[in-house]
Amino acid sequence: MRAVVERKTATGELSDAELIEKAREDDIEAFEILFARYKQKIANYVYHFVGEHQLAEDVTQQTFIKVYQNLDKFRAPGKVSAWIYRIAANQAKDELRKIKRRPTVSIHAPVREGEEGAELGDLLEDERQRPDHLLREKEKLEEVKKALSEMKPKYKEVLLMCDYEGMSYEEAAEAIGITKTNVSAILCRARKMLAKGMKG
């Protein structure tokens, strides 16, 4: 599970809420720490939401700028992480609404986690990197991506929060602003849609 940092850590790092508090007092470094803490998580989430690398980077950047601009609007005891995810999801939905593009697979998509620098484009170019198992994995991955790209944002949002980010129903409910029961119902339908999309 991708743990969501909220409390002060054992190493004495400032908690998210403390960083927000400092950033409100124009401590730009505090905000940069918060950015460093969440940028990869948000970028991953947004990337699978919008399906395009460049767009994901733009939306991630825009998300944190929104967070910065609205620091005063964050209300404790709400979770900072949930608030950031909520802004990211809204930004991503806005962008998808704007472009309504056909599903595409970016050639710059990394092939697998941890493979530094290995992009889909590299593998397409280099046949030595194309054993069967890699192809099958890639195909599976493509199936998931394709099915995700065809899913409505409402379902994709919950699915990615719970099954990709590993959020609990409570965390997802807080981030989206719906009830726990709704999260459970939407998640169940989203999983069915994904399975159907992968088969089809």
Partner: protein
């Protein structure tokens, strides 16, 4: 396996997430041990969850953090400005404590200044650069302060300071040998980071309004500079340039030396242009950067006083010398240099040439000769024709307004162009012999064409038999059409090509070119109507409509240039090919991946480049594919020219092969068979 009705998917989903209460969980577990269908569904659900959880992390680009930091600094600056605007003006309050009023005021003021200076000196970043007020009104606002103070002479500046100039105001920003900037009148500049210490190596500026010119120095090496305009952002790597924040919220970048990248500030817009020396690029409000174009006369004029290198171009130097020596009008030397100038006009010196012509040659050239130069350049360089200087010139010397040039072009396209055709009688009589018998204004033969950066032998010999021109003034002409004979170098097969040019719509930035290809026996093979879209002098894309001899539409090709090298070479484009019904047969995105109409991947072509189809047809190939390695031409491949039937057949074949990944699979199999 049929679905079990006793346990719903919802319950299974919650069970898989560990969300069921103990009693219900025990019941589901008991059921799962007995029901194979539910157990299978749970297994699939868990696999799905695992697959989702294993989705790859996105690899953030190397400049992601820097980009964000820059955006954050701008957001911070905007936030501070908004806070300042919302704050009420400070009220002075003094309390009488038995000290005479003047003494009290003095004491409080002294205390305030002392405290303010103390606090400020603690908070203020180390000063490292200087501001020199050169002329007129120049004001500065330090860091978080709200008040502006007038600047006279030289003051230190630090990160976070904001400088503004009033009408007639001018200020210089000096950072030792690292860089120097010149802020022109009515400008506002913020130095978020100054890049002046060993630790701080990034310069981050915001140009809110007006004009800033920058020259980097010898100590700039290893540093970066980023300037935010209202709509565009410039990334600098050692150079001399000017940035303008125009009142409409547009940003214009003009580069004298080096290369500066320009990006838009719109979200979801990865487009970036590299602005090379002697080029300018504009970003419209909320727009993408436009293709770089040669600097225009105004930009040259503005920069002439800032960078001495501007006048150092050999052709420019010579012209200035000639002008200064008051060479006799019409002398051979002037003619020679006019030729040089016109040749250069196609490259980097075009608009500077106009600037020189406007400012110098009027004095020395005979009016008719100067006129000829002006008109030639004006008709070839729309952005020069649009300038205020050109409008003034047209009004005073030709009694025209810029749109008249287009109207004249339109008139000839309709009237004079048809004359030779009437004379020819039938298409059959439009033979090379017939064309040679006419009195051509211009005649030239194309045996080589430009492919990328090198010239190649063409398999076709194109003989430009005649170019139709519309007379404009006594000696000037606008080209409006042409007739070619095209013969294949090997087979000797001949075709005639008839082109109609320059029905130009400046407002829409469209150049329309219609071409018809005839068989020498008189049959019309096909026609192509091209609508070329322009920004500056560079085409940004076009629509081609292919029609058969009955005028029936065969196919439409829409192409958009996505990325261009600084030399104007097409690096990336997007393309769609539609049939007569308007259905998309093929689409190609900017990554070079080809999709069928349902969005399924057919093929990929990374870093492939198609040269302009017009050149391809002239060269006798259906498509030129050029691979680039670090912007250098490394390989040229070609396929034979097809007629329309073959082309349509090929399209149909490709359309059939639309099963997902079919081509990829075929390639896999092919590769496997070679292993």
């Amino acid at each position: 396996m049929s679905r079990c009705w006793r346990v719903t998917s919802w319950v299974l989903s919650e069970y898989a997430d560990g969300m069921l209460p103990e009693r219900k969980k025990a019941w589901v577990e008991e059921h799962l041990s007995a029901c194979a269908a539910c157990a299978e569904e749970l297994k699939q659900l868990q696999e799905l969850k695992a697959q989702l959880h294993e989705l790859p992390a996105v690899k953030l680009s190397s400049d992601f953090d820097v980009n964000f930091k820059s955006a954050l600094l701008v957001a911070r600056q905007e936030k501070i400005a908004a806070q300042r605007a919302a704050e009420p003006a400070p009220k002075r309050r003094f309390v009488y404590v038995g000290i005479p009023r003047p003494v009290q005021v003095f004491a409080v003021a002294l205390l305030s200044i002392t405290v303010a200076l103390g606090v400020y000196s603690l908070m203020r970043p180390a000063p490292s650069a200087f501001l020199v007020a050169a002329a007129g009104s120049v004001e500065i606002r330090h860091g978080m302060q709200t008040a502006w103070s007038a600047v006279q002479g030289k003051v230190e500046i630090a990160a976070g300071d904001e400088v503004r100039t009033g009408p007639g105001g001018e200020a210089t920003i000096l950072a030792g040998k690292i860089y120097q900037g010149k802020l022109m009148e009515n400008s506002t500049w913020v130095g978020l980071e100054l890049a002046t210490s060993a630790k701080q190596r990034n310069a981050n500026f915001v140009l809110k309004e007006g004009t800033l010119m920058v020259k980097t120095g010898s100590a700039f090496r290893g540093r970066t500079m980023r300037i935010e305009g209202p709509s565009g952002r410039a990334n600098v790597v050692g150079t001399s340039f000017m940035m303008q924040a125009l009142p409409k919220g547009e940003t214009v970048l003009s580069v004298v030396e080096g290369k500066v990248d320009m990006t838009g500030k719109r979200i979801n817009d990865p487009s970036k242009v590299a602005v090379d020396r002697l080029e300018s690029a504009k970003v419209l409000t909320k727009g993408s950067p436009q293709m770089p174009r040669p600097m225009n006369a105004q930009e040259w004029g503005a920069l002439a006083g800032f960078d001495e290198r501007i006048g150092s171009h050999p052709a420019a130097k010579k012209l200035i010398d000639l002008a200064n020596r008051r060479e006799k009008p019409g002398s051979q030397e002037i003619k020679d240099w006019q030729t040089v100038l016109m040749a250069e006009a196609d490259r980097e010196l075009g608009s500077f040439g106009m600037y020189l012509l406007g400012s110098k040659l009027d004095e020395v050239l005979a009016p008719a000769e100067a006129l000829q130069q002006y008109v030639s350049v004006l008709t070839h360089f729309p952005e020069v024709a649009e300038s205020a200087w050109a409008a003034e010139f047209l009004r005073t010397k030709l009694d025209l307004v810029p749109s008249d040039l287009d109207a004249l072009g339109e008139e000839i396209a309709v009237a004079e162009f048809e004359e030779p055709l009437k004379e020819a009688g039938t298409v059959r009589s439009l033979t090379p012999e017939f064309l040679r018998g006419m009195e051509p204004q211009k005649r030239f033969v194309v045996t080589q064409i430009e492919v990328g950066e090198k010239m190649e032998e063409s398999p076709y010999r194109v003989e430009r038999a005649i170019t139709f021109e519309r007379r404009l003034g006594e000696k000037n002409f606008l080209p409006v059409g042409y007739l070619d004979s095209v013969s294949h170098a090997k087979t000797g097969e001949v075709a005639l090509r008839l082109g109609k040019l320059f029905t130009r719509d400046e407002m829409k930035r469209v150049l329309e070119v219609s071409t018809a290809l005839f068989h020498p026996d008189g049959r019309l093979i096909y026609t192509v109507d091209r609508h070329l879209r322009y920004q500056g002098t560079l085409p940004t894309g076009y629509v081609e409509i292919y029609k058969d001899s009955n005028g029936e539409k065969l196919a439409t090709v829409e192409r958009k240039v996505e990325q261009r090298s600084t030399k104007g070479l097409v690096l990336r484009y997007s393309e769609t090919l539609k049939n007569a019904k308007g259905e998309i047969l093929l689409g190609r995105n900017r990554s070079g991946m080809i999709y069928d109409p349902k969005g399924r991947l057919l093929d990929y072509q990374d870093e492939l480049v198609d040269i302009d189809r017009r050149l391809a047809l002239e060269r006798g190939v259906e498509q030129l594919k050029v691979e680039f390695g670090q912007e250098r031409l490394v390989k040229v491949a070609e396929t034979p020219l097809m007629n329309m039937d073959e082309m349509m057949q090929k399209m149909r074949e490709m359309h059939k092969r639309s099963a997902p990944y079919e081509i990829e699979k075929e390639m896999e199999q092919e590769k496997a068979s070679h292993l």
